[in-house]
Amino acid sequence: MKPTLSGAVKALPFAFLSVLFAYPLIMILVKSLTHGGSNPIEPFGILLSDSFYLQRIWFTFWQAAVSTILTLAVGLPSAFVFAKYQFPGKRLLLSLTTIPFVMPPIVMALGFIALIGPSGVLNAFLSSTFELERPPIGILNTVAVVLIAHVVYEFTIVVRIVSTAWERLDYRLQESARVLGAGPWATFRLVTLPLLFPSIIAAATLVFMFTFTSFGVVLILGGSQNSTIEVTIYTLTAQLFQLPLAATLAIFQTLMTFLIMTSYAWLQETKIVQIGFQPHQKEERSNEEKRRRLFLGSNMILVLIILSPMLALIAKTFIDENGLNFTYIMSIFSNTQNSFFFVSPLKAIMNSVIFAIATVTLSIPLGLASAYAIGQRRVWWKNPLDGLLMLPLGVSAVTLSFGFLVTFNRAPFDLRGTWAIIVLAHVLIAYPFILRILLPALRAMNPALRDTARVLGASPAQVFRKIDLPILSGGLVIGASFAFAISLGEFGASLLLNRPELTTIPVVIFRFFGQPGQENLGQALAMSTLLMGMCAISFFVIERTRGEDRWTF
């Protein structure tokens, strides 16, 4: 046995997090304290007595709560269909729902503009059909569009987590309830729902956390009235240079997300224990072909609605009033622009791909080591530890980058304006997903497999290589694709840490979008379509690898 080696591996994520995560956060805290003088509580006092900030904190909470409820309302029926029915193209459909999740908010915003903007697909269709003078749908820059966008974003979380649990639910329990005299509805209410409850709560917690720290969607689509804590941090940092106040807000938000993540870790563990790997029916025995068609059809329509902003965006890229139009997509590959912010789109694509590859390379070992650090322990502080390792997921990209900027700004660690700072930010955002994907599989792995291999003559290193890695390989491929897509689509950190030579695809889209003129909008659309295509390919890899439905976060 070599406790030292495995100890070192397990300590790696904590060392990494201390330097790249805790230290920047502490620097933010220090910044925050300088704001309040000697009393450490004072900055929070100032924050919580200012009605301007109170109003934003309140908005952050309620929009997250409403977004969560809406996403559950839309996602649960779909989760049911995905869990209970087999149909051709099921995996493809499921992977399509994941694309919005990794899209940068600027692409989402463009999608909504393409769909329900003044000359959007839906408005144009309605206007011409009913001969209206003005576009009938005018919800851009309102809370409504923010909430809808959140549903589009987080839909896949609810569907994936809940449908996986639903699929594994031991159907014999439901049969027993039926035999005991419960009708279909009573069975659902008294048996199915309580058993699914942990997974529903887990999904809801994640959705709440993501929408709680929502940035781009609110910034671009929400209008100037509506601002989350995250957007306020960005504004205070990047536009008003009120760093201490931004720091206090960032600390406040981090505390909130830590609480959310810890309860999530706890819930995920209970979920594993309660549901486990049960035998399940492949499909509801449907003598009712009509009902099956109805469900599958509605689900298909629902997914199409979820995808409609993305589809509208693709349509707008290739079609204009005169029919097919490839000039936008072609313009990506020709250097015709020369404004002051100009970065050639090709250069941005190169940057994005290189950052994504670097992110995958770093976040895989980090995610793996984190999973080992918490996967095999049975102690009370395991869940807080899990919450701690997941914290980067909850600490928004903007806070993270803000921390980087106030920390790594002195030689020899002046990382400002280097590619490393962006990649490290992406690693911190991406590796929690890898951890979440690997952890359940690692926990479900029978330790006797390793014991047997040891006794059969394998050293600890060989056990890892010959037993652990092959068994986790599916999860690793999925984690890698996820990390790749997340890095490609990451917006907040890339924007805040941006330098012209480090510009990525989402930032270029944002720049094009910010410029007037049809030409710029067209290029923004074309780049968005390209990004979507790249993410779609990476999710195609995921779905090919999902041999069994064991991999989920």
């Binding site: 006797a448 291999a453 059969l456 003559g457 060989q462």
Partner: protein
């Protein structure tokens, strides 16, 4: 414990001396000693949580321990990594490597030994034949039945020719009938190969069927070691008797008389010869064990005053494998007996009173 494991005149192979292991304030393994001979099959018998699996892991080198030594042919195994011991392990639940097929599972240990491809080839083929699965190497382990998985797990652990094979409740996952078939098969294979083995189980039938000697373990201690016959005929205390499936076990108080001893029990007072009472607990609290063969049912009309009888009311009766298993309420206690199905069924009606004769020479007196 009864240190009667030196009665076989064989060379000592694996020696376990004073092994102890604590987890926090719980003692998992407590001062355990045993010598195991080459080619011997020892079963470790005990309820779950008694420390069997922990001891197995200690022997395998997978678990640290607090004190004592484990040595193989007079060489201490201290500091020898599990992979360097050349042992075999058939774990609980028979976990096969899920990402490898049958062939690669069996070849795993051989590859770890860096054996030549030709050797691996012939060895795996031999083992597949040995366990009765010839030409099935290409199968996926997920599609194997429980019994087949068990055979593959056995082949995998035997492939590298281990010096010692440890089997940790290898039948745990299987249903009863299949178990009986399989443990006989396993025993035949172990004996054919001649491997020294430690077989952990909580099933006394399985332990007795498979092993040359059995060890009963309770709370981390070895409380009795012996051949199956010895254990069955002279269980050394109430716990062991209970664990071996004896039902009629009652607390008893011994009073010594000049030429006999009196046993006071809840079902009556019995007079036994002094040689039936082990010296250690004369004048003490003890346990009375009434084996089924010491009980006979007396017909009411043939009642003689010479024999000692006790009477009770039939509480329940079930039919099992050609016998009636009857529970008779005697005073506050329940006596279990099994009688041939040819017994007069009117006599065995529920609620009937039975007169039972208990042969004092056949009852056993055990430690408390």
């Amino acid at each position: 414990m009864t240190p009667d494991d030196r009665d076989q005149n064989l060379e000592p192979f694996l020696e376990i001396t004073n092994i102890s292991k604590r987890y926090g304030d719980k003692t998992a393994v407590d001062q355990v000693n045993i010598h195991i001979h080459r080619g011997e099959i020892i079963s470790l018998l005990g309820p779950s949580g008694c420390g069997k699996s922990t001891l197995l892991k200690i022997i395998a080198g997978l678990e640290e321990f607090d004190s004592g030594t484990v040595s193989l042919t007079n060489q201490s195994l201290e500091g020898v990594a599990p992979e360097d011991r050349n042992f075999g392990l058939m774990p609980q639940d028979l976990v096969l490597f899920p990402h490898l097929n049958v062939w690669d599972n069996i070849a795993f240990g051989l590859r770890m030994q860096r054996q030549s491809q030709i050797n691996i080839q012939s060895r795996v083929n031999d083992l597949l034949t040995l366990v009765g699965l010839p030409d099935q190497g290409e199968r996926n382990v997920q599609e194997l039945s429980g019994g087949e998985q068990q055979r593959v797990a056995l082949a995998r652990s035997l492939a590298p020719e281990p010096k010692l094979l440890m089997l940790d409740e290898p039948m745990g996952a299987l249903d009863r009938r299949l178990r009986e078939d399989l443990y006989l098969h396993v025993k035949a294979i172990l004996k054919e190969v001649g491997v020294t083995a430690i077989y952990v189980t909580h099933d006394h039938d399985e332990a007795f069927a498979v092993s040359d000697r059995a060890v009963v373990m309770q709370n981390g201690k070895f409380i009795q070691i012996g051949t199956p016959e010895k254990l069955y005929t002279t269980p050394s205390n109430a716990f062991i008797a209970n664990f071996l499936g004896f039902r009629n076990i009652f607390p008893a108080t011994i009073t010594s008389q000049p030429h006999s001893s009196n046993l006071k029990t809840p079902i009556g007072i019995f007079e036994v010869a002094p040689n039936q009472v082990p010296r250690a607990f004369e004048e003490n609290e003890a346990t009375l064990l009434v084996p089924n063969q010491s009980i006979t049912i007396q017909n009411a009309d043939k009642l003689t005053t010479a024999t000692k009888t006790i009477s009770g009311v039939i509480e329940s009766k079930i039919f099992q494998q050609g016998y009636y298993r009857i529970q008779v309420k005697v005073r506050t206690e329940t006596l279990h007996l099994s009688v041939p199905m040819t017994t007069d069924s009117v006599q065995l009606a529920l609620g009937n009173t039975l007169n039972l004769e208990i042969d004092p020479t056949k009852i056993m007196v055990l430690a408390k």
